[in-house]
Amino acid sequence: MIDISLFVLMLLGALLALAVYLPLRAGQLSLATPGFYTIGGTVAALLSTQLPGLGGSDAVYPLTSLLLEMIVAIAVAGLLAFLIGKPVLKLRGIYLAIATIALVEILRVVLLSSPWFGAAVGIFAIPQPFEGPEGYLIAYGLLLAIVAWACARLERQPLGMAMAAIRDDELAARCMGVSTDQVKLIAFVLSAIVAAAAGVLAAHYFNSWNARQANFDASITTLAFVVLGGSRTWLGPVIGGLVLTALPELLRPIGDLRLIVFGLVILLGPIFIPQGLIKSKQS
């Protein structure tokens, strides 16, 4: 019933959800994920179409080039997150959310308006490293496995616990010796890296890339993944991302009512399962 290409998008959804989850674990409602995702995609699109040396005109785009793109995108997004994280993470709660949305909007408008990034049309004819969706499935599966494994590990490490402590009470965490600024920044940078890596693959998978992906809707939808899945442990966002990405597709048979039912799910989900599909151990 579910098509391979949908599986690919589901894995992408899970990755983006993890990117939202990371700062949220540290109590930071950052909605910048689609921005870093777009940056990752743009880096990949530019490199693979503009740098002939990478093998963009080969029949099959070399995996090493893909890896290289990944590294560049991660570096760019990570660096950017590091630079803007410092001032931005001083903001709290909804203010942080709005500031990050503002950044995403700025990025979108600038990318859509500058010819270097393909302007309104975007960059297209992006070379394919894989013959079909199966390749992407494996690549995304690997990426997700790595990120999920890292998150799971992180949660058991002092850093992960410090993140959760900051969400509960930032001030108390500071008084217990947690360098909250540093922890928040790490979470933010990690999130940017995950999103950018997901974007690199997406640019190839989508054959084309434009900055419309970086919009407010996307920010909120990925947040919905996390909330519905559960925001206390890594499995929550993964499940949320998988389920909510698949849902609109699974609802196709009901035709015009599909988005209404989708809306109902995200309306009723938090009401009936306030902790999300995956609960934390305690309480």
Binding site: R156, D168, L171, A172, C175, G177, V178, T180, S280
Partner: protein, 240 residues
């Protein structure tokens, strides 16, 4: 180069003042805490005790005055840095990591995921059975004990306890007293404690400092302080 100060002064507070708008919460307070002692801080409500804690732990910037920790200034240090220097505190209004389990609360403070060590600390405050319960689900008194253990988990040299015995009944207060004394010996730490329950403080503390309207009005052994007319008038009341 500053001359080395006398070694047994862990923390020195000099001419410390704090203003909130027009309100002088602390007024030229001088106090030095000796290594290994239990120093009690008492005074009427709003005298500035918690504010003093806040200044020491870097949460409130002093408007005036100096803090010296083992001879080095604490000026401009962030709370987390101060904590890592070896000053840990509890909060008057309980600030646990409410969603985390008791054991995770301690692990955050320890900065490690060593379960065994955390369990030992929990056992110290008799909460080992609640190890995996969320902190928010504990009764008030138990939350206080957990905070105490959490502060200990940072391996402090100086432990600041704000109203450590609030919400406990007399027998529990006695337990706490024993616990504090034991902790001092076992962990070789110095303790600065705020508490309104005077009998407890009399028995527990080596010295008592009394704040009133932000000023230190008395400092000395419990006996001296108990007899100080200023203290009786401002804090103890005549019947005690």
């Amino acid at each position: 180069m500053s001359a080395p100060t006398s070694t047994n002064n862990l923390l020195e507070i000099e001419q410390l003042s704090v203003c909130f708008g027009g309100l002088q919460a602390l007024d030229r307070v001088n106090l030095s805490i000796n290594e290994g002692e239990i120093l009690g801080l008492i005074g009427p409500n709003g005298a500035g005790k918690t504010t003093l804690f806040n200044v020491i732990t870097g949460l409130t910037a002093p408007s005036h005055g100096k803090l010296r920790w083992q001879g080095n200034s604490l000026a401009g240090k962030k709370p987390e840095q101060i904590c890592r220097l070896g000053l840990a505190r509890t909060f008057q209004n309980l600030r646990l990591f409410r969603e985390l389990s008791c054991i995770n609360n301690l692990q955050v403070a320890m900065g490690s995921n060593n379960r065994r060590a955390a369990l030992e600390l929990l056992a110290l405050v008799q909460l080992q059975e609640k190890a995996d319960a969320a902190a928010a689900s504990l009764a008030y008194g138990d939350q206080r004990k957990l905070e105490f253990a959490r502060a200990l988990a940072t391996k402090p040299k100086l432990l600041l306890l704000d109203e450590a015995a609030a919400g406990m009944n007399p027998i529990e207060k006695q337990d706490l007293q024993a616990l504090v004394q034991r902790v001092r010996c076992q962990f070789k730490i110095t303790i600065l404690i705020i508490e309104h329950h005077v009998p407890l403080m009399m028995q527990l503390c080596d010295r008592l400092a009394v704040l009133n309207f932000g000023r230190c009005i008395a400092l000395g052994s419990p006996e001296q302080v108990r007899r100080d007319p200023l203290v009786i008038e401002a804090y103890l009341g005549s019947q005690r």
